[in-house]
Structure formats: structure tokens, C-alpha cells
């Protein structure tokens, strides 16, 4: 963490890692898709629709993981004052929102054939929908604030407040009688899913996770560039450098 605190070094490291991450993501997606669509069996009860699990579950896992990473980054902003923490939080939010959206859409597409309804207001679906709204709220709050330092702290507080929803989503199927499937992968007594389906599930999960990290690192580099740009524009406006338009572009 300390070694990565220098933005320039981080950007250089991220740039070098990028090709490897992209390659690994592509390979894992290829393998995951192969196993998900071709080399795994249909379910005894659900038929082919079980294959939606290989997209829906990783998306849902990532929707929780992203907010957890954002919360750690928020602690980095408020407690440890790590210089890269805010950039990490900013870059993760849109990704988390997209994966939450994907989880909701694929879940709905899975629910219709399985339960007969596009949507039910049970605990897990409701809390995941609330999570999506919270992602949008965090993005909206950051967009509404002009000052970067203030924005980083306020967004950090909101993110930490919202973290209370993460255990709710996770344990909702245990605490309430829900229509949604209970925990079947990470359970105390071992998974209840057959290994022929665990393989594509894990492959797709790793693929999506690698995709997240790939895009996250690029997003962080972009955010760093934007901060640098803002600083340069403000400096140029103050110094009155020729050829640089001031008031309108200065933010």
C-alpha cells in the first residue's frame, strides 16, 4: 500500500499490468463460456435456464465485492488518508452499478421461467435493488460536488453508511423466508451444487472478477489524469497562459 501511494508509480505499474490482465480476462471468459454453454449439463429440474446462473451469480458477487472495495477505499480516505483511496472509490462505483444492474436483469430473466414472475419483492431482490439505488446515489453525490477534497470525504461517509446493506443482501436468504435460492456455494457443509456446474460457475466468476480489476485499474488511471488536468487548468487560468480558455473550461 505504501509503495503504491505514489500516483505516478501506481499508474506505471497499472499500465504494465494491463496487457496481462486483459489477456487473462479473455482466456478465462473463453474457458468460462465454453464450459457454461457447451461443456456442462442442463439441470434436472430447470433445464437450460440453469446456465443463466453462470452470468447472474458472478454479477451478483461482484455487485457486493465492488461496494466492499469502495468501503475499504472510503476508510482509506477518511482514516488512513491514502492518496489513491479516493481514485479507487471513484473508479469502482460505475463498475459496481453496472454489475448490480446486470445481476438484476439476469436474475429477472432467470426468475420468469423459474418462478413465473419477472420480479418479486422478496428480501434478496429488494435489497439488491436498493444496492443499485445506492450506487446511483454515490455517483450522483460525487457529481454534485465541485470540490474534489470535500467530495472524496462526503462520498466516503455515504459509502460507509451504505455498507450496512451488504450483509443484508448476503444474509437475506438466511434471515427471511424468500423465494430466492438459499446459499448453495459457500456453505459450512460444503457446496450443494454439483461439481459439473461448479466449474463453469467459478470460471465465469474469475473471468468477471478479472474484468472488474482490469477496468478498475484503467478507471483509476483515468481518474488520476482527470485530477491532473483539473490542476493544470486551474493553474493555467490563474497564470493567464495564452491559448488556454479559462472560465468555462476551468473545471
Amino acid at each position: 500500500m505504501i509503495a503504491l501511494a505514489n500516483p505516478a508509480r501506481f499508474a506505471a505499474l497499472a499500465r504494465r499490468l494491463s496487457p496481462w490482465l486483459i489477456g487473462a480476462t479473455a482466456v478465462l471468459f473463453a474457458a468460462g463460456l465454453w464450459f457454461a454453454l457447451v461443456a456442462s449439463p442442463a439441470d434436472y429440474q430447470q433445464g437450460e435456464t440453469v446456465r443463466i446462473m453462470y452470468v447472474h451469480v458472478p454479477a451478483a458477487w461482484l455487485s457486493l465485492m465492488a461496494w466492499t472495495l469502495m468501503s475499504l477505499a472510503s476508510l482509506g480516505v477518511l482514516v488512513w488518508r491514502h492518496p489513491l483511496a479516493d481514485v479507487a472509490a471513484e473508479a469502482a462505483a460505475p463498475l459496481g452499478a453496472a454489475f448490480t444492474f446486470l445481476a438484476l436483469v439476469t436474475g429477472s430473466l432467470w426468475g420468469k421461467p423459474m418462478w413465473g414472475a419477472w420480479w418479486v419483492w422478496d428480501a434478496r431482490l429488494t435489497s439488491e435493488l436498493v444496492l443499485f439505488l445506492m450506487y446511483l446515489g454515490v455517483i450522483a453525490l460525487r457529481g454534485a460536488l465541485d470540490e474534489p477534497a470535500r467530495a472524496s470525504r462526503l462520498v466516503a461517509v455515504l459509502t460507509l453508511v451504505g455498507f450496512v446493506n451488504i450483509p443484508i443482501v448476503k444474509f437475506s436468504v438466511d434471515w427471511w423466508n424468500t423465494l430466492h435460492q438459499g446459499e448453495s456455494v459457500f456453505r459450512m457443509g460444503g457446496s450443494t451444487i454439483d461439481s459439473s456446474m461448479l466449474i463453469p460457475l467459478f470460471l465465469c466468476a474469475v473471468a468477471f472478477t478479472l474484468l472488474f480489476f482490469t477496468l478498475w485499474l484503467v478507471g483509476m488511471r483515468t481518474a488520476l489524469i482527470q485530477r491532473r488536468l483539473r490542476g493544470l487548468r486551474l493553474r493555467a487560468a490563474a497564470e493567464g497562459a495564452p491559448g488556454v480558455s479559462t472560465a468555462i473550461e476551468a473545471t
Binding site: L78, T126, L141, L145, R150, R153, L154, A156, G162, I168
Partner: protein, 222 residues
């Protein structure tokens, strides 16, 4: 007089002063409850079934819409800095301000709700349960709203952003409040557990939300 009571008294005085919009939240609450049946149609049975939910939604909206005033006036005239300088811990100061706000905007809603229960054709048990859950739940709404108010203080577009940020946090209160009321309107068997959970959530909010709001106020300092 302790700093807490002094702050509470000051905010109460300011809230009922002319020009502060005292009574507007109540007016908004009544307006929403009156307008909703127009959207639903005259089916009295339907209205009776969802009457408590209408009251709760209206209370939620009325609370949220008035909350941006919580810190705004102090922010505008610089009194917010005095809050930081007080001997009172900031979360307690936030609690005092939110309590004053609730006494002026939330409590009137509770008092008026039985009358409005007649408008939405709720049976007597439902009306009683609604009033009770509102009494217990609106303080939590105000306290959670204080977090949103602290996060959006000074923002030009903060008015709409506050409800957007607070609604996700208010969902559990809403779920258990309406759940308890529905249970009471029926055979009353599910009321106790739902009400207990509501009380639990409310108590947790009353303790944790001021801390979060105080953190947000500190974070908002430039």
C-alpha cells in the same frame, strides 16, 4: 442549562418562528394523503387495505422534503462552525437538532394521522397501529434524513439529492412499519415481532445515524 438543552431550545424557537415554514410539512403530508385516492379511484375497500401504506409513504415524503433545512440555515449564517466549537460532542448536537426538527415536523404528523386514517377508510386497529408505528418510526426517518442533510449541506441541487440518498436507508423502517400495521389490520398475530424489529431498527438508527451525520458534517468542512 446544558448545551444539549440549549441547542434544542434554540432550534425549536427558530423552527416555529415566522418564515421558517412551520406547518408546511404537515400541510404537505395532508395534501399527499388527500391526493392519493384521486389517483387510486374511489374503491373504498382497496383504500382501506392500503390506507396505512399511503399514510406511511406520505409521512416519509413529508419528512424528507423538509429535511434540507436541518443544517442549511446554520450553514448559511456560519452558525455551523459554532456547532463544531461547542463543548457538546457533535453527534449529540446533531441529535438535538434532529430532535427539534422531529418535534416540529414529525410529531404533528403522528397526531394528525388518525384523522387522516378516516379519509383512507382504515379500520380502528389499523389507525391505531399506524399512529403507533409513525410515532416510533418518524424519529428514525428524521435521524436517517439528517445523514442526507449533512451530506448535501450547501449544495445547490441538494434538495432532490437528499431524498435519493436517504430513501435506501429508510427502506427497512418502511418495511417493518407497514408490515406491523398490516398485521394489526388483519388478525393481529404478526404485529409483535414486526413491531419489535421496527423498534430495534429505530433504536439503532437513533444511535448510529447521528454519528454518521456528524462525520458527514466534518467531512463537508473545507
Amino acid at each position: 442549562m446544558t448545551p444539549f438543552l440549549a441547542l434544542l431550545r434554540r432550534d425549536l424557537r427558530l423552527a416555529v418562528r415566522a418564515g421558517s415554514g412551520f406547518g408546511l410539512s404537515l400541510l404537505f403530508f395532508v395534501s399527499v394523503v388527500v391526493v392519493t385516492p384521486f389517483a387510486l379511484g374511489p374503491d373504498l375497500a382497496l383504500l382501506g387495505r392500503i390506507g396505512p401504506a399511503i399514510l406511511w409513504l406520505a409521512a416519509l415524503l413529508a419528512t424528507l422534503i423538509g429535511l434540507d433545512r436541518l443544517f442549511q440555515a446554520d450553514y448559511d449564517d456560519g452558525a455551523l462552525d459554532l456547532l463544531f466549537a461547542m463543548r457538546l460532542p457533535l453527534p449529540l448536537a446533531v441529535f438535538a437538532k434532529a430532535l427539534a426538527h422531529w418535534l416540529v415536523t414529525g410529531l404533528p404528523l403522528v397526531v394528525v394521522s388518525p384523522v387522516l386514517g378516516l379519509l383512507v377508510n382504515a379500520n380502528p386497529q389499523a389507525m391505531a397501529a399506524t399512529a403507533l408505528t409513525l410515532l416510533v418510526g418518524t424519529p428514525a426517518l428524521t435521524m436517517l434524513g439528517a445523514i442526507g442533510a449533512a451530506l448535501t449541506v450547501g449544495l445547490r441541487r441538494g434538495g432532490l439529492l437528499l431524498p435519493v440518498l436517504v430513501l435506501p436507508l429508510a427502506v427497512p423502517v418502511l418495511i417493518f412499519a407497514v408490515g406491523a400495521t398490516e398485521a394489526m389490520a388483519g388478525d393481529g398475530s404478526g404485529f409483535a415481532p414486526a413491531f419489535m424489529l421496527l423498534v430495534g431498527i429505530v433504536l439503532a438508527s437513533l444511535v448510529l445515524a447521528p454519528v454518521a451525520a456528524a462525520a458527514a458534517l466534518r467531512a463537508a468542512q473545507t
